[in-house]
């Protein structure tokens, strides 16, 4: 009976989703030849003006790197306030967690859109957008690392007369370094991926080139940009994995 109720609820949920999305298979079928034509036209990929593309790729890496760094600076005090064993102000524990959840809840793309309106087009707006969203993710991951760390060394430091802040910096920070650094690298790697599309809203990086190429239906160029994006993401992934292994 209970299982039937669950299945019914699931069915209702999927039914509602289908009503909203209205999947139209004949339309997909009709569009397939167009997709095939574009795919055919994409070969060979157009790497002309490679220095410009590489400049955009560097912009993407810079947005992600500076954005993640700024995010880490914003996240540090919030993570400390949002970690029960080390928070110096218990009163701010829940507000700090709410701020982290809010930052995480709004996508970097949306923040970038707002910053483009506020500070103008370009990678600076992208960096700010990435930083705000990533601060929520990093703060959340760091506060959880601090909360789940072995509390015995912290207690030993407190029993030796250390203040809570001293004990946190001297004992918990080094103890959680593999987790916190790993979280930071993971978010940086995620930000590289996210930064590749920020250009769609005018916030710099490879996305800007991608949008231009799609608008011009220049699919050879689109393929070249996609190849660059995939190479960039894979390189970031490998580098991040290598650094994480070394820190373990």
């Amino acid at each position: 009976m209970r299982r039937a109720a669950w299945l019914l609820a699931l069915g209702v949920c999927y039914g509602a989703c289908l009503l909203v999305v209205r999947p139209d298979l004949p339309r997909l079928w009709a569009g397939l030849p167009r997709l095939a034509r574009w795919l055919g036209g994409a070969f060979p990929p157009d790497f002309s003006g490679l220095p410009d593309l590489l400049h955009r790729a560097a912009e993407t890496v810079a947005i992600a790197t500076l954005g993640t760094t700024l995010a880490a600076l914003l996240a540090l005090p919030l993570a400390v306030l949002a970690a029960r064993p080390v928070t110096p102000l218990a009163l701010l524990y829940h507000p700090a967690r709410a701020v982290l959840d809010t930052l995480r809840g709004v996508d970097g793309f949306v923040f970038a859109l707002i910053f483009v309106a506020a500070v103008g087009l370009g990678p600076f707006a992208g960096m700010l957008g990435v930083a705000l969203h990533a601060a929520g993710s990093i703060g959340k991951l760091w506060s959880e690392a601090l909360e789940t760390a072995d509390q015995a060394p912290l207690e030993a430091a407190l029993s030796a007369g250390a203040s809570r802040a001293q004990a946190a910096v001297m004992v918990l920070v080094p103890e959680t370094l593999p987790q916190t650094t790993s979280a930071l690298l993971y978010v940086w790697e995620f930000n590289i991926r996210a930064s590749t599309v920020l250009g769609l809203v005018g916030a710099g990086g490879l996305g800007q080139e991608l949008k231009n190429a799609v608008d011009l239906l220049d699919f050879a160029r689109v393929l070249a940009i996609l190849i660059l994006i995939i190479t960039l993401v894979l390189a970031a992934d490998r580098l991040s994995a290598l650094l994480r292994r070394r820190l373990a």
Binding site: A152, P153, A156, A157, S159, A160, Q166, V169, L177
Partner: protein, 210 residues
Amino acid sequence: MLRVRGLRVALGGRVILRDVALAVAPGEVVALEGPSGAGKTTLLRAIAGLLPIEAGQVEAAARPALVFQQHALAGRLTAQGNVLVGALGRLGFWRPALRWWPAVETAAAAECLARVGLADCAGQRADRLSGGQRQRVAVARALMQRAPVLLADEPVASLDPENAAAVLALLRGLAAREGLAVLVALHQPDLAQRYADRRLRLEEGQLCPT
């Protein structure tokens, strides 16, 4: 000198310790025995100031140092880094945070490690030391506090007989040579008999005659 009078501790509304009174003189090693759950750890933590006291008094010249049962070392710090944690109570925030320790403290940490026989292990990470070595580092961290009273909560519970004997002999030697008042919770009566000057028994939160 450690003196405890009429100590009463309640946790979560349950009375754990009732009217506990004891004294440990400088240079004396007192063993605290009793079954699991008798309140030995609670008593040591209350004396160390880690638990609130409902009634009674703890008198000691300075905050007692506590050696924890499972050493409670920071595994990624070196032995010396862990010993230096014992000095945090007398230092400000920034110098230790920047790992810019006063030379006098690093020399003191080296000396504490030498006193527990680990002068050669200063630069080794704590999680790469043996169980016996870790417990000695925990003792060195307690010594770094320069407290006249040393509390040890079953410091040999997880050690093999050889290392257990070595750690207790170390505590015994520190009491004799340096005049520390040592109160050590122990599970093994034979070790208490061998290394303690006096034995106390705690049962259901009260001290009983041994």
